[in-house]
Subunit: 213 residues, 2 copies
DNA sequence: TCGGTGATGTGTACACTGTGAACAAGATCA
DNA sequence: TGATCTTGTTCACAGTGTACACATCACCGA
């Protein structure tokens, strides 16, 4: 039984769970400095292991970055789920569904604003639809951001708010709007806006989505 | 009179217009590989100059990247302007204004799809509203992307399509939606969609903006 | 119990990057 | 013409990703 030592100095030759430790270190680097900051050697340094040890668990720096990016997506999903769960159900399922869709967007944008480094990292690795449901990108609830959004849109359809002919591809519209705002706010031209302005913009954007979806 | 030599081998000690040459080289690198590909040493190599010569014109690699990013924004503006100018005026100014706003979005998205490397580079450098009108970010028409969009929204308002109380901050909504789609399409989860699907998504997105702005 | 073996971490090495400091070449101007 | 300022070069160094050979050790079958 290896006494798990938090300090960089290990007493055992084997680390125990190096992969996980490197991922955690990479995640912290990403949190602080975005994708460019997740540097392989620094991760190993923080874990207290030689640089090349990383190659036993990640083929590449890029593989590490991808793992960090996936983890960040999971955290984004968590933020969305938290916001959705904060919406109390009433006896008006249609209004609830609307509120929950807004909550999905709010959770996404909250994550972008509270964790810009992770947000940028989450979208720094090329992805595609086929892999967007991959479990490695899921949060604690087991859902990826896309799945959280899709579930919300399903509810919107089943409560009759969203006509079936508009359901298909609706993710795309909602996601684009919210993602764009997130990007523009954290390092695009919309940076430096006050909290109030961003909040206002967020509400207007969600109005637009609700009306235009 | 220096015979301008296109080959890396110069015969004069001075280059003539090194800053511009480095910028052009950087732009090509960005075109091919995005922001990460604009590496200082490679730019100097292509120009046929020693690595440190770059420091006479750019304080930093980041300064070079910023210049490249600004140039890319200018090209984006050009793409938008081209699309707008392709819209012929009719005797229905309101309908024209609508079509031109769509054209602005189309030009933006066309640029994202045709020049993904430049598009990513354009938004890889933190910016803010105060600097979004900077002339260094303007295209040949002298307008920055934000200014092209604003002009289009002004027209929409003056033709009565957009109620004045909705004019303020409308840039933000339109830009967010279109920017988000661009990002998601070139390396987000929406990558790998067919041309038709992207075209369809683009139209639906522009519908949403038009309705929800 | 013990030696073999495969997995995991280490050491050495190399190419490449950004960048500082001293130096060189040549334009410019008194 | 000679001093000076600008622009490019050379040398140097730290930091990065990564290949390759080696060391250590957990585990497993004899």
């Amino acid at each position: 039984m290896t006494t798990s030592n938090a300090t960089p100095l290990r007493d055992t030759y084997r680390h125990g769970d190096l992969r996980q430790a490197l991922l955690a270190a990479g995640l912290e680097l990403a949190r602080a400095g975005g994708p460019a900051a997740v540097v392989l050697r620094e991760s190993t340094r923080q874990v207290g292991v030689s640089p090349n040890a990383a190659y036993r668990h990640f083929s590449d720096r890029n593989a590490l970055l991808t793992a960090v990016s996936d983890a960040a997506l999971g955290l984004a999903a968590d933020s969305m789920v938290r916001e959705v769960e904060a919406v109390a159900s009433t006896e008006d399922p249609a209004a609830d569904a609307r509120r929950r869709l807004r909550a999905v967007g709010l959770g996404y944008l909250r994550f972008a604003r509270e964790e810009p480094g992770l947000f940028r990292t989450a979208f720094s690795v090329p992805d595609d639809l086929a892999r967007s449901g991959d479990a490695s990108k899921a949060g604690v609830a087991g859902l990826t951001p896309l799945q959280v959004l899709s579930a919300s849109l399903d509810e919107l359809e089943s409560t009759g708010v969203l006509p079936p002919e508009r359901r298909q591809g609706a993710e795309l519209l909602a996601w684009s709007a919210v993602h764009g705002l997130g990007m523009l706010v954290i390092d695009g031209p919309l940076r430096g806006l006050t909290e109030e302005m961003i909040d206002g913009a967020t509400q207007r954007l969600l109005d637009m989505v609700e009306r235009g979806i």
